[in-house]
Amino acid sequence: MARKPLDYEELNENVKKVRYAVRGELYLRASELQKEGKKIIFTNVGNPHALGQKPLTFGRQVVALCQAPFLLDDPHVGLMFPADAIARAKHYLAMTPGGLGAYSDSRGIPGIRKEVADFIHKRDGYPTDPELIYLTDGASQGVMQILNTIIRNERDGILVPVPQYPLYSASISLYGGSLVPYYLEEEANWSLDFVNIRQTVAEARSKGITVRAMVIINPGNPTGQCLSEANIKEVLQFCYHENLVLLADEVYQQNIFQDERPFISARKVMFDMGPPLSRELQLVSFHTVSKGNWGECGQRGGYFEMTNLPPKTVDEIYKVASISLSPNVPGQIFMGVMINPPKPGDVSYPKFTAESKYVHESLRRRARMMTDGFNSCRNVVCNFTEGAMYSFPQIRLPPRAIEAAKRAGKAPDVFYCLKLLEATGISTVPGSGFGQKEGVFHLRTTILPAEEDFPAIMSSFKKFNDSFMEQYEGYSRM
């Protein structure tokens, strides 16, 4: 019987190589248990609304009005919607001949790209060109598009932090490139070690790999660290001297939970450093509506901004974007509202500010609660979540636990996370999904469960962990 094209053996090998643990084994097992009636707390993905976070009202009002413009014609619309939401809906509808139902420019609605440019200018103090800002269906699409543009074959390498958000490793596999890992230093608060990075690059080159790009995730995912200005300078200088394009994933820029290192964009540091670097270093920056205080994951809104890319390259990127016709228009409007929110004096400003502040301060409290909670557990060490939405505690698994995992045919952290899931319903992602140093194990969880559920969740975790450690290590010699 002839092989059929869609027999497993006949599939594209690159597809088979892809791994994306965020919705992998643990998530699938958790979903099974949920179907069986077990209460599951999904902390596997940065998905705030799924855990009870409320959408910011203003954005929803604007999009609802754009969705159903007949509301704007009704004399009573002012009773149901604040004046500034009404004005903003009209503002966006004026930008979109055909409203929400028409394909926009393949790069996104020009007026919204201009708003994004104004936001970037205001944030960084340097002007930018709306023509070099492309809106996308979530930041992930932008990342995948740029990586696909760069990667020619398996000898093209991309420097990726380890641990990393597995979109990067998955995309590199899918496009047939090579992932060149650089390890973040856990003991030094997940900092970059340029000695290590240079070594890694030299090794890759000696194996015939052409290193083309460097990814930084700032704030980090899963690690949460916020880069200092000095760090970013070093990264920029490194990329400049090594002829790499810098891919700056800055989707968590609004989620900062400490005051020592506020967010500073790679672009700002680059322009502060001045020419020739600022005129020559190639940079692509990514942002999204899925994170921050908005958490509008389901809208699929995002953008990438290109700096110092040659016009012919931009043309090719445009060409590929045009094949997908356009990013979804509601997502574009969410982006507009996010980067151009209500201002002092606007009717919605007090409510908007109160809602955002509430989310932000609660996340900040939860970041602290979770870190402290993990650190109070036996054999668990956890760096503080300086930013982003995750906690990435190190679990020091006893040798007997590692052996038990081997016998069960599972990676040790997968084994631990499965047992955690079955005992407590907490669904995490094993550290192996993000990459970690050999023999060091972690799990990633989010800080997103509702604040009032935190004490119960942390105590449930502690109970499980401490009894797991007792089981595999014996009594604590304290």
Binding site: P5, D74, G101, P310, T313, S322, V329
Partner: protein, 484 residues
Amino acid sequence: MAPAASVAVENLNPKVLKCEYAVRGEIVIHAQRLQQQLQTQPGSLPFDQILFCNIGNPQSLGQQPVTFFREVLALCDHPCLLEKEETKSLFSADAISRAKQILATIPGRATGAYSHSQGIKGLRDAIAAGITSRDGFPANADDIFITDGASPGVHMMMQLLIRNEKDGILCPIPQYPLYSASIALHGGALVPYYLDEKTGWGLEISDLKKQLEDARSKGIDVRALVVINPGNPTGQVLAEDNQYDIVKFCKNEGLVLLADEVYQENIYVDNKKFNSFKKIARSMGYGEDDLPLVSFQSVSKGYYGECGKRGGYMEITGFSAPVREQIYKVASVNLCSNITGQILASLVMNPPKVGDESYASYKAEKDAILQSLARRAKALEDAFNKLEGISCNKAEGAMYLFPQIHLPQKAIEAAKAAKKAPDAFYALRLLESTGIVVVPGSGFGQVPGTWHIRCTILPQEDKIPAVITRFKAFHEVFMAEYRD
């Protein structure tokens, strides 16, 4: 001394460099420049408006959305509205109850959360029910992957199927260039089969077989057959017999059938109707496991025309579990498609029914749009056929006309001198004289030595006479200039 730029055209992914997409290509970019010129220097061109007839984007040219769909979407976007008294007087009762029903299927009523990577289960159930009701054969929610428009689904399948440049995909010529572009992007080989213009763009199985064998003899492993029904750009609706033959052909040759069915609700002739390939396969007795088949549907076309929402799905049947896992895995890397698009896909496949409060107005809106499209298709077809050297097949369905322009030799030489394909030369001159934007046939593929343009039927009905007049005037001048 600065090092050479890392990411320059010389060292980009060659597959990116190779692919092309004429629908938003050179002519359109030029049209956008001219549009800007009209704004900054009014009166500087021989027309006062650019008319984009290059892209199937109905609402950009004035088509109104279906009211019921927008009511439901607005309520799902801002569920607080459901608690307000005023809502009852602004929204129809069945839109309110449908929104409530949809929200109940979404965990936590959270329309801002990432959903299941195949799409929200309750919405997939509604889509499956809609397919079952359409075809008379059961559909399964687990076979459905809701995507950001139909295009990402096509990309996913190409990615899965194409391992290297020796993997071939049979594509109709002319075709919608998403197929040629995605095959190039994923590094495969496009194996063309020619639709026959003389028989209303008919599909001959004998030609299909010939192209397949040709490709195989060259060492190409042909893996799938793309069929677009109704056709784009050609507009033909396949006859049932034709569809039986195609299914048999795929079965015998071991090909995956990729059925692009996004225009299933755009049929303008009484003697043809839409049959999904799944329905055809099942009615032939082919079961779940007998034939790998993917059906693509979209919210961008039909009478709803919601292009900007990016909603669509693929229904996958006849695939083994390990393969489905791979498809799921690739879908999960992007987490999920946008929720608005998911909701819309479920509404399109499960619209108001007889007895629903909104049914009468929904039906009136739907019928008005489809009847108007049919009239515009006919008016433009007749107009093209009256012009010297132009022959235009009927648009039985979809949203396009694809007239053949018999260009005089002088015009072809002028095109060569201008370093343009003759149909691109004609389309550019059309644009510069009239502001009308069409896509040259070379963007879709055509029998070598023949020239076409693709023009949509989408300008509002009251603009059609002006379009026809302007086009006629231009064409007469062009032919006078280049007539042999």
